[in-house]
Assembly symmetry: C2
Homo-oligomer: 193 residues x 2
DNA sequence: CGATTCTTTGAAAACAGTCAATCTGTGTGG
DNA sequence: CCACACAGATTGACTGTTTTCAAAGAATCG
């Protein structure tokens, strides 16, 4: 159950967790199964908990005035799911978070996370996770504002090749900020070259 | 000199800095003036230091294969400038960072920042800054992938009205991921309504 | 097999980018 | 004070990219 998370923490920090720290981590995170399409979180709600994905995949998306979904984030095992903004600020969320595959996750409330942040190792891990997240997001902003549909797809192919196997094209298209038709054309065009 | 930064730290943390902590902060940050167009950092370099802006404005941008600039971030007083990615990972940067206005900043090296992170208050502040940054970036990704040029401009107007006074339109256009001509047309269209 | 879900294709329309010219305001130096 | 340069903003005509809508073709799953 918890090995994946404990290994993850180990990989992200120089100092190992003590036995009692490990207990604290186990008490903080509750195992939970999500079936495909099941919500972790819905728009308008205040985010109470965040999930570490042990296996499976989740997505975070907004729904615009025309009812179209726009995927701001895709998370697979060994990464986090939830709305950081609502989680941190305790404001109503602009996003939905649901499982795209049947998912096994470890779920923690805000209070529990804050409480184990007293542990130096956890603090270190949280800092690193936040940094990595911010770095990935800036890079995503950069590709969004500077590249064409074709170039954005090529970038995804290079950066997250595992996504191509794992998610259907209409999901990738939404993540890349284009329609599924455009992605289909971009791909058939790329094949010809 | 340092009042702005010390006030900023105070605003971001519950626990105040001790006298010796304040000294440590002062020793960490060196005041520096940047004239308009002067670089804090150039593409290809490994980012050694990060700047807290006391007055003025800086921008972070990439330059694409055609030589066009794409602004990924605009920073004004009471915010930070520098390339987080290169700073954290010590990898060659994909971005330029320069002053858009004559700027007065407090500059700190990576080592010095890491060293004062031993202070709990500073740790708290860094955590919060990282979170706010990640939140702002996700929101930017969301608008980039889901809104039209016109809607993106309306969003900027609402979210950062001070930017409209402060930066010329071609800078805002680049930040929004459109050409200056498109922004000009979007604005004249909005006025008519 | 039938029912979803996903992908592709075509044609038309909307949107945004390009290029070039003009216009505006600002500040500098003669 | 004027002339000029410079940075910024606007406009028009054109091109290219992306979306939209509709239909049909795969693939997958119970």
């Amino acid at each position: 159950m918890y090995e994946t998370l404990l290994k993850y923490i180990k990989d992200y920090s120089a100092t190992p967790l003590s036995e009692s720290d490990i207990e604290a981590v186990k008490n903080t995170f509750a195992p939970k199964r999500f079936r495909k399409r099941q919500f972790l979180h819905q728009e308008g709600e205040v985010c109470k908990s965040i999930a570490f994905i042990v296996s499976g995949a989740m997505r975070q998306y907004s729904v615009d005035s025309k009812g179209a979904e726009h995927i701001v984030s895709l998370s697979i095992e060994n990464w986090w799911a939830g709305d950081r903004e609502s989680f941190e600020l305790q404001t109503p969320s602009k996003y939905f978070v649901d499982a795209w595959e049947d998912t096994y996750a470890l779920v923690a409330t805000r209070e529990a996370i804050f409480s184990i942040t007293a542990i130096p190792t956890i603090r270190e891990v949280r800092m690193l996770v936040n940094s990595k997240n911010a770095i990935a997001l800036l890079s995503r902003v950069n590709t969004s504002i500077s590249l064409s549909a074709e170039e954005r797809y090529a970038e995804l192919e290079k950066k997250y090749p595992e996504f191509l196997q794992r998610f259907p094209q209409h999901i990738l298209a939404s993540y890349l900020g284009m329609t599924k038709e455009t992605l289909s054309r971009v791909r058939s065009h790329a094949v010809k070259k």
